[in-house]
Amino acid sequence: MILNGRAWKYGDDVDTDVIIPARYLNTSDPAELAKHCMEDIDGNYASGVSAGDFIVAGKNFGCGSSREHAPIAIKASGARAVIAGSFARIFYRNAFNMGLPIIEAPQAVDGIDSGDVLAVDMENGILRNETKKREYGIATVPPFMRELVAAGGLLNYMAGRRKGK
C-alpha cells in the first residue's frame, strides 16, 4: 500500500503538550481532541489538515507526557502517519498500540518542507518526495511489532491471546 499526502513540517522535540495541550485533557473524545491538535505551535493545522496528510518533524517527536491523547488527536485529525527523525519512546509505543503509523526517516525529513507531496511505500520501505523528486529508504519495523500491527493493535492482539488460552 502506498500512502500519498501533503507534509505539515515542524522542528525538533515536538512535545505532547503542543500536540494536545493539557487544558483539553479533560476529555478523551477523539473528535474533540482533533480540533486542538498542534494548536500551540500551529494554529492552522487543525483546520487546514486534509485526510491523508503527513506530520513531518525532526528528532525526538512526541517527547514529554505519556498521554495517549496525543496520537489519538493526530489520528483523528486525519493525518495518515507521522514521519520524524526520531521518536520519544512512549509516543512511539502508544502510536503502535493504537494503530497510528509512524515512520523513522532521519535522512528524509531535513529535505521536506510544508506542502511537499509525499508518497510512502511501507512494505518496501521507500519514502518519495514527489515535489522535490527525491527518494529515501525508511526504517522497517521489528517482527514483534509487525505482529501487533497485523493483529490490529495491542487490544486485538490481547483478545487473540485470550481466545487462544
Binding site: D13, D15, D17, V18, P21, A22, R23, L25, N26, T27, S28, E39, D40, I41, K59, N60, C63, G64, S65, S66, R67, E68, H69, P71, I72, S86, A88, R89, I90, R93, N94, N97, M98, P142, F144, G153, L154, L155, M158, A159, R161, R162
Partner: protein
C-alpha cells in the same frame, strides 16, 4: 556477560536467566497505575476487551491527582469513571481526594512499590521509582489496559547509560540540580530509549528525596527508566514502608554499559532550565535579570517534605515579593500534615504564599496557578514546554525549591545567598 540493574530486574520478571539490550520480552508487572487523565482511556479499552476481572486487584493503583479535586465538569466525569471502575472491580489501591497524593510520591511512601519491582504506569513520570532500585517506566493507556487484564507488559530491553557520581554537593545544590545538569549535558533525547543507571561514591551524599527527583526526570532526557543501586538509605526508606517482601538486586561487576558519563557533584551550583526545554540549562550565577510573576513549589519532582523544608528554610521570616504569587503544593496528605506539624505551613502562609491541597495542578497547566499571556514562572516542576503552565506565550523556568523560594522573595530569579 554480566547484567546491569535494569537487565537483572527485567530478566527476573520475564522468567529468564539472562536478557540483552534489544531483546523484546513479555514481563510480569508488580504494580500498574493510572491517574484521572490516563485511566479513562484505559478503562474504555479494558471494557472493550470484555474483561470480567483484573489480573490482581491488589496490584493496580488508581490515583485522581492531575485535575483533582475536580477542576471542572469534564474532569469530574473522568474522575467518576475511574472511581466507579475501582468500585466495580474491587481495586484496593484507589485513593480518594482527601486521602490521596501525587501518585509518584504517594505510592512509594505508602510502600506499594518496593526495591526490585517492575512497575508500569500510564504517566510518563512513573520512572520515579527507580530511586528504590526498581524498574519503572511510563506507558500509555492502552498498555495500562492490557496490564490490568494480563498482569504483563511487552518491553524492549534498553541499553544502559552509566552515570558515575562523585564528590559532595555544595550549599544550595539539591537533587534537582544534579538531574538538570545531566539533562543540560546530554540533551532532552540524550538517553532516548535507554536506562540511566547511577553509580559512584557520590550517591552516599544523596538523600532518598533527591534520588526520587533525579529518577523522576529521567524521561526529560528521553530515558526509559532511571535507577539507583540499593544501599543503606534505600533499605532505611523501604523497611519502614514496604507492604510486600522484596529482593535486593545488584548490577554485575562485568555488566556491559553502552556509555558512561561522570559528574563531580562538588563542582555543581544550582541550575536553572530556561524555556522551552529542560535542556536549556544555566548555572544560577549566569541567569541574569529574569523578573517573575509566579513561583510554584510542588509536583512529583519536588513536592516531598524535604523539598518543603528547603523552601521554608529560605522563606521563613521573609515576605513574598509584592509582584509575585507563590503557590506551595505538598505532594500527599501525609506531607501536608507533616508540614503543619513542623511549622512549615505557617512559614509559607505568613510569608504570603498560598498553600494548596495535593494536586499536580499547575505543573501541567491544569489548575491552581495557570499563567496568563506573557507571564513568567519559576517552578520546581519538571517541564517548561511551550504552554506547559498556561498560555502558549507564558514562560516556565525550572529550579530546585531553595532557588524557587529565594526568587519568590526577590521578585526575580536568584539564589538564597542574595537575600540579606
Amino acid at each position: 556477560m554480566g547484567m546491569t540493574l535494569t537487565e537483572k530486574i527485567l530478566a527476573r520478571h520475564a522468567g529468564k536467566d539472562v536478557v540483552a539490550p534489544g531483546e523484546l520480552i513479555l514481563a510480569k508487572v508488580d504494580l500498574a497505575l493510572g491517574n484521572d487523565v490516563t485511566s479513562p482511556i484505559a478503562i474504555q479499552a479494558f471494557r472493550s476487551l470484555g474483561a470480567r476481572a483484573v489480573f490482581d486487584r491488589n496490584r493496580i493503583a488508581l490515583v485522581p491527582d492531575h485535575f483533582a479535586p475536580n477542576k471542572d465538569i469534564k474532569s469530574a466525569e473522568q474522575a467518576k469513571m475511574m472511581r466507579e471502575f475501582a468500585r466495580e472491580f474491587g481495586i484496593v489501591n484507589y485513593f480518594e481526594v482527601g486521602r490521596m497524593g501525587i501518585e509518584h510520591v504517594l505510592l512509594p511512601d505508602e510502600g506499594l512499590v518496593v526495591p526490585g519491582d517492575l512497575v508500569i504506569g500510564a504517566d510518563s513520570h512513573t520512572c520515579t521509582y527507580g530511586a528504590l532500585c526498581a524498574f519503572s517506566t511510563g506507558v500509555g493507556s492502552t498498555d495500562l489496559a492490557a496490564a490490568m487484564l494480563s498482569g504483563e507488559v511487552w518491553l524492549k530491553v534498553p541499553e544502559t547509560l552509566r552515570i558515575v557520581l562523585s564528590g559532595r554537593p555544595g550549599k544550595w545544590v539539591e537533587g534537582k540540580d544534579v538531574i538538570l545538569h545531566i539533562i543540560g549535558e546530554i540533551g532532552v533525547d540524550g538517553a532516548l530509549y535507554r536506562a540511566m543507571e547511577y553509580a559512584g561514591d557520590g550517591i552516599a551524599h544523596l538523600p532518598m528525596a533527591w534520588r526520587f527527583t533525579i529518577t523522576n526526570m529521567a524521561i526529560e532526557a528521553g530515558a526509559k527508566n532511571g535507577i539507583f543501586p540499593f544501599d543503606a538509605a534505600t533499605k532505611a526508606y523501604a523497611d519502614g514502608r514496604a507492604k510486600r517482601g522484596y529482593e535486593v538486586v545488584a548490577a554485575d561487576r562485568d555488566a556491559r554499559y553502552e556509555a558512561e558519563l561522570s559528574v563531580d557533584l562538588s563542582t555543581l551550583e544550582p541550575v536553572v532550565a530556561f524555556p522551552h526545554l529542560p535542556e536549556n540549562t544555566r548555572p544560577l550565577s549566569l541567569v541574569g535579570d529574569v523578573p517573575i510573576d509566579q513561583v510554584v513549589v510542588g509536583s512529583c519532582t519536588n513536592g516531598r517534605i524535604e523539598d518543603l523544608r528547603s523552601a521554608a528554610a529560605v522563606i521563613r521570616g521573609r515576605k513574598v515579593h509584592d509582584g509575585v504569587r507563590m503557590i506551595i503544593l505538598p505532594a500527599t496528605q501525609e506531607i501536608y500534615l507533616q508540614a503543619m506539624r513542623e511549622g512549615l505551613m505557617e512559614a509559607f502562609v505568613t510569608a504570603g504564599a498560598a498553600f494548596s491541597t495535593p494536586t499536580c495542578g499547575p505543573c501541567l497547566g491544569g489548575h491552581m496557578g495557570i499563567l496568563a499571556k506573557g507571564e513568567r514562572a519559576i517552578s520546581t516542576t519538571n517541564r517548561n514546554f511551550v504552554g506547559r503552565m498556561g498560555h502558549p506565550e507564558s514562560e516556565v523556568y525550572l529550579s530546585n525549591p531553595a532557588v524557587a523560594a529565594a526568587s519568590a522573595v526577590l521578585g526575580r530569579i536568584g539564589g538564597p545567598d542574595e537575600l540579606g
